[in-house]
Each structure stands twice: as C-alpha cells, then as structure tokens.
C-alpha cells in the first residue's frame, strides 16, 4: 500500500476512535441520568415513593386536611384487614416485631399499633425502617400519621422500646382491596455514612 494511503487511513482511524469515545462517555453519563429519569417516571405514574407522598407523608398541613376529609367520610360498615410484616436487613442482630400481627379497621378511623424493637448488636445503632405496602396500588390510600419510619431511630446498646404507628385507611380505597399488608424492613445505617 502506498505510504500516503496508509497515513490517510491512520488519520481517519484516529478520528473514528475519537468520535466513538464521545459516545462512550455520553453513555456513561446516560447510565447516571437514568437515576433522575426513574424518579420522573415514578412521579408521573404515582408509584414508589411518590405513592407515599400522595398519602401525605411529607406535608403535615396537607395531611391534617386529608385526615379530616377521610374521617368525615368514614365507613363503619366496611372492614379492612391490615397485616404487619417485620424484616431485618442483611442479618442485622435485632429483635423487631409488631405487637399485633394484624388488625381489622374501618376506613376513615384512626388506629394505633405498637412495634417492639431491641438492639442486640452490642453497639449503638442508628436504624432506619423502610415501609412497603402490598398491593402496591393501596399505597396512596394508606396514610401514616405517626410512624417510627419517618425518622432515623437511635438505639443504644441493648436498648429496647415500643414504637407506635398511627394510621388511617382512606374510604377511597378500591373495593377490590380487603387486605393490606404493611412490611417494614429495618436497616442498620452504619454502612451508610451519616449525612
């Protein structure tokens, strides 16, 4: 092959490689862009943590109004079973349970259930409970008025205590749902640096 052809090919090879490298960098960025994108999609669909927001988790004033409206429409003829599941993440050495396995409630009526936790790890722990409601489409009809999952819980070594959950099921809950399962997973936040 003539030297000038070789030189020309070499230049175009470098140019092609450069352009492709831009795609590579852009796609690495796109991977990260999927994180906020996922949030947007969840918001549009009202799922994930956004279902929680609709149930009034982050706005005390809106929640107060919501609870008032729900109480005004309370339905004492309808029974909804609420079951509680407690999970410890990754072999965390705790005792954690709901003092009642399940309760039967009426929509629009406030209920309180106590959860019991004991720190058996042998050190102080800052723990975070993460709730999950099944079926998923019941999430926005389940309003937690007071919950130990709203804040991180500090447990000294060996400390044990009861933690209350006050909640109300909305009268707007679809008729097809008669049982709601509330699952709490407790996380030891130690692996997560404190912010």
């Amino acid at each position: 092959m003539e030297p000038e052809v070789i030189a020309k090919t070499r230049v175009s090879n470098k140019k092609t490689a450069g352009k492709l490298l831009i795609i590579v960098v852009a796609m690495f960025g796109f991977g990260y862009a999927l994180v906020p994108l996922y949030d947007v999609v969840c918001q549009v669909l009202g799922i994930g943590r956004f279902a929680d927001i609709e149930s009034g988790k982050y706005d005390p004033k809106a929640q107060e109004q919501l609870v008032k409206d729900m109480a005004a429409n309370k339905d004492l003829t309808r029974n909804v079973t609420v079951e509680f599941i407690t999970v410890l993440n990754g072999g965390m050495k705790w005792e954690f349970k709901a003092l009642q396995k399940e309760v039967v409630v009426h929509p629009g009526v406030m209920s309180t259930v106590d959860f019991y936790a004991k720190n058996l790890t042998g050190r102080d722990v800052i723990a975070q409970a993460v709730p999950r409601i099944l079926p998923g489409n019941a999430t926005k009809y389940f309003t937690k008025i007071e919950c130990f999952c709203f804040t991180q819980q500090i447990f000294k070594k060996g400390e044990a205590r009861n933690m209350p959950l006050r909640f109300m099921v909305s009268p707007a809950l679809p008729k097809s749902i008669n049982t709601i399962t509330l699952s709490y997973t407790f996380f030891d936040t130690q692996p997560v640096a404190l912010k």
């Binding site: 092959m1 090919t9 175009s12 090879n13 092609t16 490689a17 492709l20 490298l21 795609i23 590579v24 960098v25 796609m27 690495f28 796109f30 991977g31 990260y32 999927l34 994180v35 996922y38 669909l45 799922i47 994930g48 943590r49 993440n89 990754g90 975070q128 993460v130 998923g136 997973t185 996380f187 030891d188 936040t189 692996p191 997560v192 640096a193 912010k195």
Partner: protein, 518 residues
Amino acid sequence: MSDHPTGIKRWLFTTNHKDIGTMYLWFAFTMLFIGGAMAMVIRAELFQPGMQVVNPNFFNMMTTLHGLIMVFGAIMPAMVGFANWQVPLMIGAPDMALPRMNNWSFWILPFAAIMLVAPMFIGGDFMAGQGPAFGWTFYEPLSGQYDKLAFFIFAVHLLGFSSIMGSINIIATILNMRAPGMTLMKMPLFVWTWLITAFLLIAVMPVLAGVVTMMLTDKHFGTSFFDAAGGGDPVLFQHVFWFFGHPEVYIMILPAFGIVSQIIPTFARKPLFGYASMVYATAAIAFLSFIVWAHHMFTVGMPAAGELYFMYATVMIAVPTAVKVFNWVATMWKGSMTFEVPMLWSIAFVFLFTIGGFTGLMLGVVPVDFQYHDTYFVVAHFHYVLVTGSLFAIIAGVYYWLPKWTGHMFDIRLSKIHFWVSAISVNILFFPQHFLGLAGMPRRIPDYALQFTEFNQISSIGAFIFGGTQLLFLYIIIKCIKGGDKVSDEVWEDAKGLEWEVPSPAPYHTHATPPTVK
C-alpha cells in the same frame, strides 16, 4: 517466515490481528473449561435432593461465577477473537485499525478474570464459598452486602474497558479499512453483525460500568443509589442493570448469526437468501434491544401499562428474528447441500436456537411470565440460546475457519463424534429443565423437592456427557494445529469470500496490497 519476534515476547507485545485473535480464542477456551467445571459442580450437587457435594453458599458462588465467566470470559472473548482473525481477512484489510490498542484490550482480560475469581481464594476456608454468590445479575440489595464486592466491581470495570476498546477497534477497521470496491452492502454478513454488535457494546458497556460504580459508591462512599436505608431504590438497580443486560444478550448472539450466515451458504452452495433483509433484521434487533429491558422484571410491581408496553415490544423482536431463521432455511432450500462438520453445527444451531427463541416468546408474555419467572424454565431458555445458540455457532466457526488458520484439515471422524455426542447430550441436559421449570422448580437453589429428582438426574447425566465431550474438542484442535492433511487455499469447495483467497495457512501478514472486489 520468522518476520516476527518469537517466544513469549511475540505474544506479549504483538500487534498482529491473527496473534491477538488466537490469544482471544485460547483465553475463551480456557474460560469455557473453568466455567464448565463450575457447571459440573452445580449439576453434581443437583443430581440428588439434599446437600451432598458443596454447601449452599459455595453452590451460589458456582452459579454466579459460572454465569459471569461464560458471559464475559468465554462467549464474548471468543466472538472478539473471531472478529480479530476474520474481519481484516474478510474485508481485505492488512490488520486492525488500532493494533496497539488491540494488544491492550486483550491483555486486560486475563487480569480481569483473575480479579473476578480471586475472592474465592481469599480468606480462611475455600469450601465455605468466599467468592461472589449473588447471581450473575448481581441484584441489589443482596450484592451490596458482600464484603469483597470491590474485586467484582473492578473486574467488571476492566472487562468493560476491554470490550469498549475492542469495539472501537472493530468499528474503525470496518468503516475505514475496507478494500476498494468493498461497499457496506457487499460486506460479508459476519462483518455486518460485528459492526452492529460493536455499536451495541459501545452503547451499553458504559452503562454497566456506571451501575457498578454506583454500587461502589453506595458501599464505600456513602451514596444511596440503591440503598433503601438512605432513600435509594433496589428496583432502580434492576432497571439500570437490564438496560445494559438486554442488549448484552444480543451482543452474544448477533455475531453467532453472522458466523452461521457465512457457513450455511457455503455448504448449500447458494448465496445467502435475502442478504439485505438480513442486514436490516440485525439492525432492527439491535434497536429493539434497547427498549425491552423491563421484560426481565415483570414481577417487580410495574403498572399494567408498563407491563403491556414491554410485552408488546418484546414480542415484536420475534419478527426480525424470524426473518433470519426463514432466510437460513430458504438458503438451504433446494441447495446442493453437503453435511461437513461446520454445516452440522450450523443446522443444529438453526434448529435449537429457534427452540430457545420460542421459549423466549413464552417468557415475554406477561401473565405466563408470572408463572415462569425465576424458574428452571428461564434457565432452559437462556441455555438454549447461549449454548446451542452462541456456543454452537462458535464451535461451527472454529471448524469452518480452523483449516484456514492452521493449514490442516481437522480429524473429521472425531469431529463428527464430537458433534453428535454434543448435539444429543446438550438436549438431555437442557430439555428436561423446561419441565422442571413448568413444574415450579426455582432456579439458583442447591436443594429441591423430591418430585423434581428424575428430571434433575437426567439433566445432570446429560451435563456430564456434554462437558466431557468438549475435552474431545480440545484434543481435535491440538491435533489439527500439530498436523493433518494439507488443505487448499479455498479449503471448502467453491467457498466465497476474501478469506479463502489468501494462502492456507494464512500467512502472518495478509492483504498487504488491497485485493480488488468485483
């Protein structure tokens, strides 16, 4: 002939596409046996219910490393090896576009592989299973709890670097170094499939690098992408992972389509039927692969609209794939067929890959998937497309081009035994797994309920035969390299393509003056 360095330096410093292709293929072959040995441990444990051979954690480590090694160590490097050997030969280029980077992208691989398996040997008790044991899909939050996660993450980073550099090289070679007259639509189909595969790799390997980087910062630097305790979401992990993962499965199969599309016309003695439609079908599959990822996660609790969209988009992939299968069949139709060894493997590929494609369709249907999700049906499905699909095509390609590489014909009697024993035993191995899955046996478990025993025993017997037979393949290759009947430049009767115009064995430097393409 010694116009190149000899001994170890030849292999360490080589920039020759044939040397690098050979190294890729040997690396893939080594990994095939390591990953295969792990599969043997899995099948030995599953031969009977109860725990016999290894403990559950070791078992989980075996399934994890078997998957990772086969995907990133065996199938992908073997395909890159073919690309290195064949793309320059087939398009009339003297070498790859960026030879020095080519060397680098290979030599990263052994170190990545060592990093991947090293945790198995670090710590006290080997039999406790200290390596990664969270499945090849490394779902959060389980993977985030693994104390030696950084080994895995950096191994994936290195594998990503290697694949990206390899892909850049292949694209630059194909776009800039074709012989005069070799227009894009005259390129052999193997070159086309690799061009598209390389673009897929460039698009998704960085996303994989991104997701493992998120895991790294979650674990060690206090971010909470996936850590629910800090407000993250493990389901997000699955979305990002499968955005990489679904194109990845086409990365493993498209070059296989290319290999088979070279072999079938040769032994049917007809040009490939529907060449242009093959090219467009490949491109269509590649495009669709980006918009179907969530069909791997139908059971996470998506809204019905999402499930329906991903179902329809998934099932749509059957259209371009069927175009390919029908084109292969139409190529054979009324051809002057002969059944040389590469052709046997290719026909087995068409038949068995189609079975894997059909079970894929079944899994793509949402209500059905709820039943099949995470059962042995899924295992049977992806082994039909990856073993009797990708691996069979790789073996077919080795038999097809080995005489060109070595200048010798392989032992035909032994290679036919290799084919028939493999083709039968692979079905004994994987076909019963469909039934196990339909009956409800979950995947990734070391123990199972008694009623699954018989099918598991049949499957394990098939596995031992299939695994053992591949040692014969190794013997056939070594024998062929050492000697055998001399082959002509054309090797196969009336074979078409530039690679058959260079001497056999292919000299160290080929196409130094570009050939003319009519």
